[in-house]
Symmetry: C2
Subunit: 361 residues, 2 copies
């Protein structure tokens, strides 16, 4: 098998308010060191490099908000990674426009390459497994499929979309039978029992030409506006700044809704690789807790403390006799939340928005 | 009845580590605004002034650690209160030496006055009741008794010492039958049932000459070293700085152990005045909570929060779905504690001492 060049496209458009007070507008989740000493986007970029079985990763394309380009350049530079292109979005438009623009950029960079679209803020525990999954999807992607990585569903999560597998395409890939919205608990349990469903992690691999062709078919308005924005963009020093006026005209939509749920080219390979989107403080806690059920970093001293996540970016934190709490101290703001209620952090963000407290957002 | 002059002696020697991280070596409990906008010592000084039924308060004597004299001068100055004398202790020696030195100072200031010894860091909710209790104790104090204010015991507290009342001396005062150490729960419950016991609040009123005579009888070594330290002290600008070498030679003891438990001059008047020593975060919470069971000040936003105390000196604190917690943010340190375990804050203080972290002590 000829070695395939895969251009990673790291999608860094997320705001990640569910990890407030650590994630802020200026420093969203992907720019924070949550799981390791390195930030999520650093870990993502490190995962998407090197030569593996049947393929090697090329220099990445980054798609991010304009305000984050400098931080990302600096963070990746710290690892010796220089992106091929950093595409900056003056306004957020969800993942479909991001994918379209990236496909145009990848095609310009190497028309024979595959592109691998990956969110910048996901955690993958098993790096060799990740590379194996990429290898497993190569044939289908080369054959003209839009290959999604379906995460082995371990628990009946109601916070994820699901992918139902259909007929086998080869030893590893299946046609996608259906994409399923975030299900109710009972439905999620049925999915788990059936064994035919994966979590939708939003990671895709395909030929850019195939993606562009499918977008022309299923969301031509998005593609058309993206082509205009891409043409009108300013390129300087490796940064491709999308034209604000034309990109703002692009409908905001996810690649799932705009393309994947409509195309007959959707394929899925199973990915059992310790994936998590770290979509909440409780998810981070699950990934990082020790034997006592605690996870903490920073200057923390715990007494009779169990099942708790404690993060501080500086101030000393002491806990006594607490259980099942998230205690997060970051840049002058402090969250103390029941671990089962951490999703309500959005209410705190709404409160801060309502009082115009941009310094804490 | 001739109007009696009472010189208040405000004892500000306490460290108050039980309210860490708010109370620190540089700013112990009495220097903090915990219950109101004013600090505990400000509230204490305000309570100990003015003319009341049968007596009027003279300018106070303050006894404090050398390092706190400037803060106290400033805090009381802010209320227009200028102490007669501020006596500074170069080392802490508990309340018996403090009382001895204060008696010498009060005697020098007005030999006919009574002295009223009061800790600087206690809260008294009912100020008119306090003045009534002082009035109730005047006759016994004038008759040569060491009058203690016995707090009406509402609950079987195991954290306080108790005073057992004996025979009546007059309409208000009783001989003290016994002082009781902090009791076990069952014993405390018996005390409450009997109705013959009060909480020992460490507030005393007497003639300084009587106190000095009883000290000469029961703790002559303390009195003798205090007389030397007092004579060797330097007085400048209203501050009487105790001589370090001679005061350090004084045995450390409480006035309860050194005098009150040994003398036959101990009397008690009942004081039902909403007293609390605010000896823990839970005590502060009890005194300040609202209908939802919460007490908070500073920039705090609570969601589904009950029975919790939340204090911050600056950083924004958001709480979600918590119950029965103390969350205290003060000068770069944060405590999150189960309300039933707040006494273990001393373990945190010990931890900080062990690592030599004086900035947080």
């Amino acid at each position: 098998m000829t070695e395939i060049n895969i251009i990673p496209v790291i999608m860094s458009g997320g705001a990640g308010t569910r990890l407030w007070p650590a994630s802020r507008q200026a420093t969203p989740k992907q720019l924070l060191p949550l799981i390791s000493e390195q930030t999520m986007i650093q870990e993502t970029a490190k995962r998407l490099r090197g030569a593996w079985d049947g393929f090697s990763f090329g220099v990445p394309v980054i798609v991010c908000n304009t305000s984050h380009a400098a931080s990302i350049t600096k963070q990746l530079g710290g690892l010796g990674i220089k992106p091929g292109t950093i595409i900056t979005e003056p306004v957020p438009r969800n993942t479909a426009p991001c994918a379209a623009i990236a496909a145009l950029a990848v095609q310009a960079q190497d028309p024979d390459a595959l592109m691998l679209l990956a969110p910048a803020d996901h955690h993958i525990n098993n790096k060799p497994a990740f590379a194996q999954v990429v290898t497993a999807g190569l044939a289908a992607a080369e054959a003209g499929y839009l290959v999604t990585f379906g995460i082995t569903a371990e628990t009946p999560e109601t916070g994820y979309g699901y992918i139902q597998k259909g007929a086998a395409l080869d030893d590893h890939a299946f046609k996608v039978a259906a994409f399923k919205e975030k299900p109710r608990k009972e439905i999620a349990e049925e999915y788990i029992t059936s064994g035919a469903y994966f979590w939708n992690a939003g990671i895709f691999m395909c030929k850019p030409s195939v993606l562009l062709a499918e977008m022309k078919k299923h969301c031509p308005d998005i593609l058309a506006t993206c082509e205009i924005a891409y043409s009108a963009s300013a390129k300087q020093g490796g940064i491709l700044s999308l034209d604000e006026k034309s990109f703002a005209a692009c409908p905001a939509d996810s690649i799932d809704y705009a393309v994947m749920e409509r195309t007959d080219k959707a394929a899925v390979v199973e990915a059992n690789m310790g994936w998590s989107d770290i979509g909440s403080w409780s998810a981070l806690w699950e990934r990082t807790k020790d034997e006592s059920g605690n996870a903490h970093n920073g200057d923390v001293h715990t007494i009779d403390t169990t099942n708790s996540l404690i993060h501080t970016d500086g101030p000393f934190v002491a806990t006594i006799g607490i259980d099942n709490l998230a205690v997060i101290v970051h840049q002058g703001a402090i969250l103390v939340a029941n671990m089962d209620k951490v999703q309500d952090v959005k209410k705190v963000v709404d409160f801060l928005k309502a009082r115009g407290d941009t310094a804490k957002l």
